[in-house]
């Protein structure tokens, strides 16, 4: 590599100089006869690029070259603006995780004078920790990068980044382009603090929201104490805000937070955006995309390979299409080396994306003009317009061609040689004679690191070739291999069509050799003609919704369906109607009767079958991502499950197969005041937002007993530790919420507190409570607390001792949602009895049976039927335990819960009496759309088998081609319960 002393722009004018005279170089450098990409779309053929003082002076076909110019003729070569990586940790070392995993969680912040949460660190500035790393800089330059935007990759709010030119010379004064280049955020906690909050993704989202409110309050002078974090956050407000979301789902989630506060984040994606590209487009955000495309799994061992899941196999097959998908949809994006092991992997991955159809201009934009624009540096970076930094690449040809050589990477006018442009191409076939023996020499491989093969007649002679600084050294073994004698040749390369120099013979004598290159046959072109690049035949499996097993290639449509001759469980006055027709139309139940008109309807013969409204599970934790408990505080009313619905959970499909159509996804039971619920329909394949009920009733989860006391694990520091404390916690929060609400309604300025807003909704009877509860004392207590604050508890869930105070519950007006027969798992369920539902029902409490479990929820009909056994509830009433009654508890019984004209067409067709253990759901329909069909399910099994087999073949092919593979693994998908933290 060339030493960089030809330019003296490095010295700064206000610095004294003691090692010589102060000199200033005012020369120009002109690159002539080049193909110049001024921008990805503005291309000059045979042009000149004129630079001076690290900046572009001019470019074009008729640039006047000043006399004091160094002229570099690079005819045949191309010049591109160099790449920008805007998501880098270059030179900013990530802190190490704090050791000592103590038993107890830490609930309070470790810092003083900063925000209450340690993971919010807007006051952090990458520039303070920046240390230029020559080795990484060199690696990045080899990959084509000239500038990186680096930051401290730690914490939820990470503070400002630093924009750095990757030049070794001149020190940081020369390298740092911007010391406050954007603010970085993420949803991951800092490793520097063990503060517990947030323990979940929804907690992180809530924390961001509260933080913005607090910053606003602080800016308005509302706070009378010092908060350096909020001050920094406010100071960073006008910078570009870059957030690490890391998955398509989180992309959408963080964008919503931004929308709420008028911030349009630039989002670091997860590479899976193609799976929900319409939702991604709707964010209107710009993206930073990683290119860490997965390697094929090593599938040779068939037993190991058998655990691979279709979605993971597809990910390997489809992920390289992600950048193309964004480009095709007009979504602006930059590319990053982030999450690659080394920048060396960048080009091969980028080539893969191109192979999958990413447009080359888009790719170039994603590496130059787009990041420059996102960073607000379009005038100086990302192009070779006049006045821009002289950050450019000199290449042998089209930059994204596999065969193209990257010769030089100039950063701020500093030359970095990667491959010498003067290297002569010596590759070819030669013959030469030494001592009357004829040898064939064949040189191939990389231009600057070629390999040699030497033959004498038909015998291969072991050889070694080095080629450096225009000299070659070639050693090969003599034909008589028993002797281990070597010929040593050396030649200075002056021409490309022959080699000549001296040979040292095995006996030590020196002689000369001359090797003539054979005329080149147009072998490459011939190959092309014969066999087109097979790599171009990318076979991509179709993306489904969701993109894994049992997903829909096309979302199913609403239909008009007539069920003929069914046994219809109406849950209305009509009771159970035999031999009855039901028509569903426009997503609603249109008619119930006999001999209904079938015109325009798909007719389903339901003879011998039972038609019911769909099952409603009042208590589930499926369909959640990033944790179902925000356990970092004893109250977490600020979090909401609506933020983190995972519509791709296979549990949704399996629940459909069990006849479930609606459910309340609840926060867990880690704290007395939990998070807000999501009430959803199981619209398999739809987006998270489309699962939610329109005008959804507002709910929040509360919890009592052993879980909130943290009785069954080692935690002794969080209040409350007793049932006595639980009561006082409620008294405290509701008292404060009540005071807050008065202030809020008074019109005076107040600090907006999401948690208090939610609790005030309860006090104002705008939000319902579903409370996890077991023993009678605590159940009674909560009703009394509610009485004191003039509201009602809506539902006690689990409520295993409800039978002991059903009379008091009825008087309070609270409903019950219980397990059929769970008990003996905790001390507080010692008196749980399977007759619980029956007794509460008999007393007059609205009673439902729930699951809290993704296995049980797919046969809730059986769980309800247990009430027939335990206490003799009628079949019709027992059926309501899992349909109409939970609908009432959730305040959605105006839409669902029975078969009634005008209600949503959420129906299930059963093979048998749904109260029987022998019944199977054959069709599960929501709003007239068939989301589960037992016949389609059977076909899916075959399709899954076939596709997996095909993907395995493709992976084997990859391995046989010599490509690297990764070992078999299966993702962890925890099954959540109330107490899963």
């Amino acid at each position: 590599m060339m030493l960089l002393c030809s330019f003296s722009i490095i010295s700064q004018e206000h610095f004294p100089k003691n090692d010589g005279v102060k000199s200033k170089n005012t020369n120009y450098t002109a690159f002539t006869n080049a193909k110049i990409y001024v921008t990805p779309t503005q291309i000059i053929e045979n042009g000149t690029l004129l630079i001076k003082d690290g900046k572009v002076i001019a470019s074009g076909n008729s640039v006047t070259i000043p006399k004091n110019s160094v002229i570099v003729d690079i005819s045949g070569k191309s010049i591109y603006p160099s790449f920008i990586d805007m998501y880098s940790s270059f030179g900013v070392e990530k802190p190490k995780r704090q050791g000592g995993r103590g038993r107890a969680s830490q609930y309070d912040a470790s810092r003083e004078g900063f925000y209450w949460n340690d993971h919010v660190m807007p006051e952090q500035n990458a520039i303070d920790d920046f240390k230029f790393n020559k080795k990484s800089a060199s690696e990045l330059r080899k990959a084509g990068f000239g500038v990186v935007n680096s930051h401290m990759q730690d914490g939820i709010v990470r503070g400002t980044g630093i924009l750095v030119a990757l030049t070794d010379e001149g020190g940081d004064s020369e390298r740092i382009i911007d010391g406050r280049s954007g603010q970085y955020l993420s949803l991951s906690k800092s490793v520097k603090s063990r503060q517990s909050y947030p323990t979940s993704t929804m907690g992180a989202l809530a924390l961001l929201r509260q933080m913005y409110y607090d910053a606003d309050w602080y800016a308005k002078g509302g706070s009378n104490s010092k908060d350096r974090s909020l001050e920094a956050l406010n100071a960073n407000k006008n910078l570009v805000q870059i957030i690490a979301a890391g998955s398509k789902a989180n992309d959408v989630r963080v964008d919503k937070v931004g929308d709420q506060f008028g911030i349009q984040y630039v989002i670091l994606g997860g590479g899976d955006e193609y799976e929900r590209i319409n939702e991604i487009k709707a964010t209107n955000a710009s993206y930073i995309l990683p290119v860490n495309f997965p390697k094929a799994y090593d599938v040779e061992n068939i037993f190991l390979a058998s655990v691979l899941e279709l979605e993971d196999m597809r990910e390997w097959n489809q992920k390289p299409s992600n950048p193309k998908s964004l480009a095709d949809n007009g979504i602006s994006f930059a590319l990053t080396t982030h999450s690659l092991k080394s920048p060396k992997e960048f080009k091969s991955n980028l080539l893969k994306a191109l192979k999958y159809g990413l447009d080359k201009t888009k790719a170039l934009e994603a590496l130059t003009s787009v990041p420059a624009k996102l960073l607000g540096k379009s005038n100086t970076l990302g192009s070779l317009k006049n006045g821009a930094y002289a950050n450019f690449l000199i290449t042998s040809g089209e930059i994204f061609d596999k065969k193209t050589t990257l010769f030089e990477n100039w950063v701020k006018g500093q030359k970095n040689v990667l491959e010498s442009m003067t290297v002569k191409d010596i590759r070819g076939d030669y013959t030469f004679n030494i001592s009357n023996t004829s040898y064939d020499l064949s040189i191939s491989g990389e231009l600057s690191k070629p390999k040699a093969k030497v033959k004498s007649g038909k015998t291969d002679l072991g050889s070694k070739l080095t080629y450096k600084d225009n000299w070659i050294n070639l050693t090969f073994i003599s034909a008589d291999t028993t002797k281990q004698e070597y010929f040593r040749l050396t030649s200075r390369i002056t021409k490309t069509n022959n080699l000549s120099g001296k040979v040292i013979l095995p006996n030590g004598n020196e002689t000369f050799f001359f090797a003539q290159k054979a005329e080149k046959e147009d072998s490459e072109d011939k190959k092309k003609g014969k066999k087109p690049d097979t790599d171009k035949d990318v076979k991509m499996m179709p993306v489904t919704y969701p993109n894994g097993a049992y997903g829909f290639t096309q979302l199913p449509k609403q239909e008009t369906i007539l069920f003929k001759n069914a046994t219809v469980w109406t849950n209305e006055k009509d009771g159970i109607l035999k031999n009855t027709d039901v028509l569903i139309k426009n997503g609603e139940i249109a008619a119930i009767g006999n001999n209904l008109d079938s015109s325009g309807a798909k007719v389903v013969d339901a003879t011998g079958k039972h038609l019911t409204s769909g099952i409603i599970d009042e208590h589930t934790h499926i369909g959640i991502s990033g944790g179902g408990n925000e356990a970092g505080h004893n109250s977490s009313a600020e979090v909401t499950i609506e933020d983190i619905i995972n519509p791709e959970d296979i549990g949704i499909y399996r629940n459909l197969a069990g006849g479930v159509t609606s459910m309340q996804i609840l926060h867990g039971s880690a704290n007395p005041i939990g998070g807000r619920s999501a009430i959803v329909k199981l619209k398999w394949g739809e987006s998270a937002d489309n699962l939610l009920y329109k005008n959804t009733p507002k709910f929040i989860k509360f919890a009592l007993g052993e879980n909130v006391k943290q009785s069954n694990w080692q935690s002794f520091s969080r209040f409350p530790q007793t049932r006595m404390g639980v009561e006082q916690l409620y008294m405290d929060y509701f008292t404060r919420a009540s005071e807050y609400d008065v202030k809020k309604k008074s019109g005076k300025p107040y600090r907006k507190d999401i948690e208090m807003d939610v609790l005030a909704e309860i006090l104002n009877n705008e939000r319902y409570i579903t409370c996890h509860s077991y023993v009678q004392s605590e159940i009674n207590m909560l009703m009394k607390v509610a009485d004191k604050f003039n509201f009602n508890i809506n539902t006690f869930t689990h409520i295993l001792e409800g039978y002991k105070l059903a009379d008091k519950m009825k008087a309070h007006g609270v409903g019950a949602s219980t397990f059929s027969d769970w008990w003996a798992y905790k001390y507080e369920v010692n008196d749980a009895i399977p007759y619980n539902a029956t007794i509460m029902h008999n007393v007059g409490v609205v009673t439902a049976i729930n699951s809290d479990d993704s296995e049980m929820s797919r046969r809730l009909n059986q769980e309800a039927a247990k009430s027939i056994k335990y206490g003799g509830v009628s079949e019709e009433e027992a059926w309501k335990f899992v349909t109409l009654n939970p609908a009432k508890l959730l305040h959605i019984d105006d839409r669902v819960g029975s078969i009634k004209v005008g209600k949503d067409a959420d129906v299930v067709l059963w093979s048998d009496n749904p109260m029987s253990v022998y019944a199977k759901a054959e069709k599960t329909i929501i709003e007239g759309v068939t989301y589960f069909d037992i016949e389609r399910d059977k076909q899916s099994h075959e399709a899954i088998k076939k596709e997996k087999s095909e993907l395995i073949s493709m992976m084997l092919k990859d391995k046989n081609k010599g490509l690297k593979t990764q070992p078999i693994k299966k993702k962890d998908k925890p099954e959540l319960h109330c107490d899963t933290i």
């Binding site: 995780r97 995993r101 061992n301 037993f303 190991l304 058998s306 655990v307 899941e309 279709l310 979605e311 894994g548 097993a549 296979i650 499909y653 197969a657 009785s711 069954n712 039978y803 059903a806 009379d807 027969d821 769970w822 008990w823 003996a824 798992y825 905790k826 001390y827 010692n830 749980a832 009895i833 399977p834 007759y835 007794i839 008999n842 007393v843 993704s854 296995e855 797919r858 046969r859 059986q862 039927a865 027939i868 056994k869 335990y870 206490g871 079949e875 093979s911 109260m915 029987s916 253990v917 022998y918 399910d937 899954i944 070992p967 078999i968 693994k969 299966k970 993702k971 962890d972 099954e975």
Partner: protein
């Protein structure tokens, strides 16, 4: 409420407070006859209008009352319109080894150490467990009480569920040794920052070798003079002389294949697969080697997103169709409280197309055969123990699994439980408010 009722209610209240558990029934002294019921024999057949005579704890007749003339003996229980079943058997169960899952002090099923054949479940079995009594009203009358944990968890015993103490409860002591076959996959240690997903178990061969070594050493020890006692080796004897069965807890195809080969190599002939999630893939191997399977909990989730949603429901049927002898087991989360749902798990298999009487075998005669107690239990056949119950209807369906009588060895057992007592007590409470 009249006075007498009031007094009896009071008495009942006293009774529940004084005795938390049901009093075991005394031995049968007089013969009795159950008439008119549909008798589900447990071997796949049904006798309508049956006459079942029970004497000295044994079934002395079980015939169709319309076609064969038979003289009733002793007290006659009219069960017309009802159904009689052999007592259901819960294999691989921890009933009586723990009372409350979350309370460590009550947990006695998992000893430390890897090779624990000498650890015996029977002596820890709590015959007075409130959980045990709660399974009887659903027809579950017999269980194989099995330790957990380690590589060789220990030795199980088979008990009946109405006894004063473990000794009286025992039907077959130390019936089998339970081996947890090494997993082909391990989970990443997330607390060390590893990916928590599944990856290939690099120590699989080593772990299998540890078991082989233990077997080889046990054999060598047993051939010697045993001058220095080695309790674990000593406890292996029954496996080699055929008096005990080896229960291999394994789910994956490769593990099952390796385990079958392992047992053959080591001369272990009495082998049972427990779990067997992928046993269907090696059904032929199991059939040819006469190896039965205790299929893992029917009411469980598929292991993979890609698997059929109803695969766990139908596995028992798939294996049965291939000619493998199958029973159902219920280990897993909340397994003790859930043991009473065993009949409905058999019912679930019916929904997958298995004949009801064949499904019944999965929790009666098949299990009895697998456990080696079929000479006395598992069917309503003459000469067998009168361990049976009368249900109002189909006992595999929760709607109709309503017991009026249950017998263990001819003894009339109580169908009351801690739970029925609370049910009655609080029903009374609300009745009195009316």
């Amino acid at each position: 409420m009249n006075k007498i009722n009031y007094i009896s209610a009071l008495l009942m209240l006293c009774f529940t407070i004084t005795f938390a558990q049901q009093t075991p029934a005394p031995s049968q002294t007089e013969a009795f006859t159950i008439t008119g019921a549909t008798a589900h024999i447990g071997d796949g057949t049904v006798i309508e209008n049956s006459v079942i005579i029970v004497e000295n704890g044994k079934i002395t007749a079980c015939v169709n009352g319309l076609t064969s003339k038979i003289i009733f003996k002793g007290k006659v229980i009219d069960a017309k319109g009802k159904h009689v079943y052999p007592g259901f058997i819960a294999p691989n169960s921890t009933l009586g080894l723990a009372e409350i899952g979350a309370v460590r002090a009550t947990r006695d099923f998992d000893e430390i150490g890897a090779m624990n054949p000498h650890i015996r479940s029977i002596i820890a079995y709590n015959a007075e467990s409130k959980v045990v009594e709660s399974v009887r009203p659903n027809g579950v009358l017999i269980g194989q009480i099995t330790p957990r944990g380690g590589t060789i968890s220990g030795t199980s015993s088979i008990v009946q569920f109405d006894a004063w103490n473990w000794e009286d409860a025992t039907l077959k002591v130390d019936d089998g040794i339970h081996l947890n076959w090494p997993n082909s996959f391990t989970r990443g240690r997330w607390w060390l920052g590893e990916d928590p997903g599944l990856k290939a178990n690099k120590n699989y061969a080593k772990e299998v070798n540890n078991i082989s070594t233990f077997i080889t050493e046990s054999k060598a020890y047993l051939k010697g003079n045993k001058s220095t006692k080695n309790l674990p080796y000593d406890a292996m004897q029954g496996l080699f002389n055929g008096s005990q069965k080896l229960y291999v807890h394994v789910n994956d195809e490769k593990g099952i294949t390796d385990a079958v080969d392992f047992a053959k190599t080591n001369g272990i002939t009495n082998m049972v697969i427990v779990g067997g999630y992928q046993a269907f893939k090696v059904a032929h191997l199991l059939k040819t080697n006469n190896i039965p399977v205790l299929v893992r909990r029917v009411h469980s989730r598929p292991n993979s997103d890609d698997d059929d949603y109803d695969y766990p429901y139908k596995l028992a049927k798939l294996l049965t169709d291939q000619g493998v002898l199958v029973g159902l087991e219920n280990s897993g989360q909340m397994e003790r409280a859930n043991a009473r749902n065993l009949p409905f798990q058999a019912g679930q298999v019916v929904s997958q197309g298995m004949n009801k009487e064949d499904a019944l075998k999965l929790i009666t005669s098949n299990t009895a055969k697998i456990l080696g107690i079929n000479a006395d239990y598992g069917t309503l056949e003459t000469g067998k123990s009168a361990t049976l119950f009368i249900s109002e209807g189909d006992a595999l369906d929760m709607r109709t699994n309503i017991l009026s009588h249950a017998f263990i060895d001819g003894r009339v057992i109580s169908l009351e439980t801690h739970q029925t007592e609370l049910w009655k007590r609080y029903s009374e409470k609300y009745k009195s408010q009316e």
